[in-house]
């Protein structure tokens, strides 16, 4: 009996466990690196596993009972204390964050140990701290607490990205400047919300705002908060930091930061518009739809065109990410059921696709030592499983059924048509065509071009060279990289096949009542 009591206590503490375990593990991991070099990895993976299991349990709990979980930190009730809120959307994003972080850690362990020798403690600590910050941002129900966790995630993200190539520190410093402007604008907006409503609790603010729809202070707070988040999202005029930061960073760090940062920021934007400023204010009172959808149309078109002109694979991916941010922001601000469902579904799908594409970059970098497009020549014959997974990921970004990319795009396009935003629909189709060109160009290089010899001009030491290249002949990636990657690429198909279930069982409950 006592055991069951304890177990049920533990279950009711899950919203705290999911954040605090990685947060504490980050502190312990940095110290444990001094004692034992293997310890940080074990601590990191154990803590991420705990938060993965707890977020799965939370998702099951929320979907089976349908009740929003409210966890009071230290027992203080809502408007005064800080509460953690787990609803359908939160639980979905929690599972997403913890699984992406866990899978990527398993896949990149070998490369982390290789690249950050003697700095493992610091690296794993930052890795887990970043995840803890994102999980905290997702769960918190307090506007100021959100700022603090946003900065925890951002600061550890800057440090992770800064550990890249020679150019990484400069790109990261630019990212840090813009990231700080974004976060500080958000803080300023929260200050005005506090002056206007006298509360920092999201639900409390949402209950006060309908009484003061016409207040100019609320309007200012909305604009400033949204501007701050859009800077962090790399929407068109302020996108400059993203391609540099993501392409110069170490691939192990980029494959964690790139799939998660922008997606979680979009989640924060959705949370802010729906749970703080209320959908009536965002969509009906302010009529944000036109401005925001056109802004995202420009972002999509710009991202797609810039991606076409890139030679570097990671830089191309960065511009694709910018275009995908446009999909989600535009889809959400369409303000109808289809659009919002599509945007939320795309958060999940895009994180999985981006993770798969960056994992491919990691595998090629490990195998060939370079990650330009040309180095992919003839790779299909050498690494069939990796290339099959890569093909799936590429098709998913293009939006070919039955991969998941198709279904979220389908929802977005239907939403665009029913909102009458044909510019958005056109931009989506344009960007899909551009993605098709981008990926089929790579497929062509990988399938039909002959395998590139390392030094074709070296005639003198031909024999020696041949022997060497025979020894170093490129084979399939090691299993600990390959299995997580194959799992992610199969997940892309599964997410596609079960997208109806996700929409009906989870996303359906997120859409507020007034929205058709």
């Amino acid at each position: 009996m006592i055991f069951f009591d304890r177990a049920s206590n533990l279950l009711s503490d899950l919203p705290a466990i999911v954040v605090t375990v990685p947060l504490l593990a980050a502190l312990i991991a940095s110290g444990a690196g001094w004692i034992n070099r293997k310890a940080p990895f074990i601590i990191a993976i154990a803590s991420l596993f705990v938060s993965f299991i707890s977020s799965i349990l939370l998702l099951l709990q929320v979907t089976s009972t349908g009740v929003v979980i409210e966890y009071r930190m230290a027992g203080w009730a809502a408007p005064i204390g800080i509460v953690y809120i787990i609803d359908h959307l939160t639980a979905l994003v929690l599972v997403l964050i913890s699984s992406v972080s866990l899978i990527n850690l398993i896949a990149s362990k070998r490369r982390i140990d290789d690249q950050f020798r003697n700095k493992e403690g610091a690296f794993y600590s930052l890795y887990v701290l970043f995840t803890a910050g994102l999980i905290g941002m997702t769960t918190t129900g307090d506007a100021f607490n959100l700022y603090v966790l946003l900065e925890i995630a951002s600061l550890s993200g800057y440090a992770l990205i800064g550990l890249g190539s020679n150019r990484a520190p400069l790109a990261t410093l630019n990212y840090l400047f813009l990231g700080t402007i974004g976060a500080t604008f958000y803080l300023l907006g929260v200050g005005y919300l506090y002056i206007a409503t006298g509360s920092l609790n999201m639900a409390d603010i949402a209950s006060i705002i309908p009484k003061m729809m016409n207040s100019s202070m609320i309007l200012f707070a909305f604009i400033i908060c949204l501007t701050g988040l859009l800077v962090k999202l790399a929407i068109f005029p302020v996108h400059g930091w993203l391609p540099g930061a993501y392409s110069e960073s170490a691939t192990v760090a980029a494959s964690l930061v790139a799939p998660l940062t922008t997606k979680v920021t979009i989640y924060i934007m959705i949370r802010l518009c729906l749970s703080v400023f209320t959908p009536q204010y965002t969509f009906q009172h302010l009529e944000t739809t036109d401005v925001m959808v056109w802004l995202s149309v420009i972002t999509i078109v710009f991202g797609a065109i810039s991606a076409l002109s890139q030679k570097d694979y990671k830089k191309m991916l960065s511009y694709i990410i910018i275009a995908e941010v446009g999909y989600m922001v535009g889809g959400f601000f369409l303000g109808n059921k289809m659009g919002i469902s599509g945007a939320i579904l795309h958060i999940v799908n895009d994180a999985a696709m981006t993770l798969a594409l960056f994992m491919v970059a990691g595998i090629f970098l490990w195998k060939t030592g370079e990650d330009s497009r040309e180095s992919l020549k003839g790779m299909f014959g050498k690494m069939p499983f990796t290339m099959a997974g890569f093909t799936l990921a590429g098709l998913s970004v293009v939006g070919v059924p039955p991969t998941c990319g198709f279904f979220s795009k389908w929802y977005l396009i239907l939403g665009g048509i029913s909102a009458g935003q044909y510019g958005f629909v056109a931009a989506l189709i344009f960007s899909s065509l551009v993605n098709a060109v981008l990926f089929f160009r790579i497929f062509e290089i990988a399938h039909f071009e002959p395998f590139k010899e390392q030094h074709p001009h070296n005639d003198h030491c031909d024999e020696q060279h041949q022997a060497k290249s025979h020894n170093e002949i490129i084979k399939e990636a090691p299993l600990d990289m390959l299995i997580p990657f194959i799992a992610v690429s199969l997940l892309l198909v599964l997410l596609g096949l079960y997208s109806g279930a996700i929409v009906n069982n989870i996303i359906h409950f997120v859409i507020p009542k007034g929205i058709i």
């Binding site: 603090v148 600061l155 150019r167 520190p169 840090l176 500080t184 200050g191 506090y194």
Partner: protein, 134 residues
């Protein structure tokens, strides 16, 4: 003129924070030297801290500590009124924001150090020139 002056004086704290905010933003965008940009970032963050601190202040308010003797002897006759005390919440929030600011400054300076080791300069145009030549 007098009207305008009194208008400015009545909201002096907000004017100050807006001016500081703009000074910081200007430095972050326009300055060529990376350390000057970082200084601009610190001014930018400090402006927000001043904004929060001034928002909690009340004219004639006192520090929000309930004295023991008041609570025991005087409180029965004169109830404690919230209006007599300044609002401590924004001040406490800013303790956290100051810590965040220091951490950001630390990360920014360490990145600037790495950049200096790499390029031997902190002037953005010189760094860009070196990048172009590579």
């Amino acid at each position: 003129m007098e009207q305008m002056l009194s208008f400015i004086a009545a909201k002096a704290n907000y004017w100050t924070y807006v001016i500081l905010l703009m000074v910081g933003l200007y430095a972050m965008i326009v300055k060529n030297n990376l350390v000057k940009k970082i200084v601009g970032m610190v001014i930018f963050q400090t402006a927000i801290i001043l904004f929060y601190v001034s928002m909690g202040y009340k004219q004639g308010g006192t520090i929000p500590i309930v004295m023991h003797d008041e609570a025991h002897h005087g409180a029965t006759s004169a109830a404690i009124k919230a209006i007599d005390y300044i609002n401590p919440l924004p001040h406490v929030l800013m303790l956290t924001a100051i810590v965040v600011g220091v951490a950001t400054l630390g990360v920014a300076l360490s990145l600037a150090m790495k950049i200096y080791q790499e390029y031997g300069s902190l002037e953005e145009d010189e760094i860009n020139e070196k990048l172009r030549n590579i």
